[in-house]
Symmetry: C2
Subunit: 145 residues, 2 copies
DNA sequence: ATTTGATTTAGAATAATTCTAAACTATGTT
DNA sequence: AACATAGTTTAGAATTATTCTAAATCAAAT
């Protein structure tokens, strides 16, 4: 699989349009790479994967595309400690789990009620537009998933 | 104020001892800097503040000391997006609020029950030893605190 | 067709952090 | 007290993710 499904292509164009940005082959390809393998790749990894489909793309363009996708709300950045930024096209409310042993990052669904509750701990003067929840630890043996 | 209170000096020595590390003037001074002004300074800021009390200290030592304090559990690292790491000697359970306008980071106390609850969203195979909760947004007008 | 502005590109620049190797300090042992 | 050992500090070099720059390319609109 290496091309965007019609549905995703539509979502991409719509979102880009909405922010006055053009739909380009590079943006489509990068978005496709993210949707195809949902393992929170770094920019470097996205670059490698994209290059295999589009050998002339440059690192700068990958960064540009990722930045564009993030600013259009199609992709989220995940920062774990000081490690390279990772990218995630999962838009539903979720937390992240970072395994210290493998370095892998997993999505963990969070009931939406929980998110409400979290916002509740903020004193009145704080107005949050985003919440980030990251767990760190390890996966219990047997289940490497 | 520029020297460690007796109580804090004791806590520092105990913790360092416990991990087989020496209590040095550099570590004491850096720890004192963090306790004195609890505004989540970056390593650069810690360096500047420490240098004013101990002009011969080097940047590398500041990083070494911070790393030592973190590994002994006396200080926490706070990473917000890709910005420089900040340091925080608040050991009670709390979240962070990052103001997009000023860039400042605030501690937000979190009821301990909430932390328990958060851990509850993790499926069984995930064993977390730390939870990080970061809000981003802005302070409502009037209260710049 | 031509202008205009957006996008892509390669490579240089930046900046936080880590590494390296030498100098220094403290501690324990005889 | 002198010495060996290991831990710590230091300045500066190295690393690395990311951003910047300026030129080339592309697309849309007159």
């Amino acid at each position: 699989m290496n091309s965007l499904k019609q549905m995703d292509r539509g979502a991409l164009s719509d979102a880009l349009d909405h922010f006055g940005q053009r739909t380009t082959p590079q943006r489509e390809t990068v978005f496709g790479v993210l949707l195809n393998q949902r393992d929170h790749p770094t920019a470097d990894e996205v670059y490698a994967r994209t290059k295999s489909q589009m050998p002339t793309i440059s690192m700068a363009t990958v960064y540009n595309c990722l930045e564009t996708l993030v600013s259009c709300g199609l992709v989220k950045q995940v920062n774990i400690e000081r490690e390279p930024t990772r990218y995630c096209p999962n838009l539903s409310p979720h937390a992240h789990f970072h395994c210290r042993e493998t370095g892998r990052v997993y999505d963990v669904p969070v009931p939406s009620g929980m998110m409400q509750e979290l916002a509740g701990v903020l004193p009145g003067e704080y107005e949050a537009d985003s919440v980030e929840l990251v767990f760190r630890g390890h996966l219990s043996k047997g289940k490497t998933k």
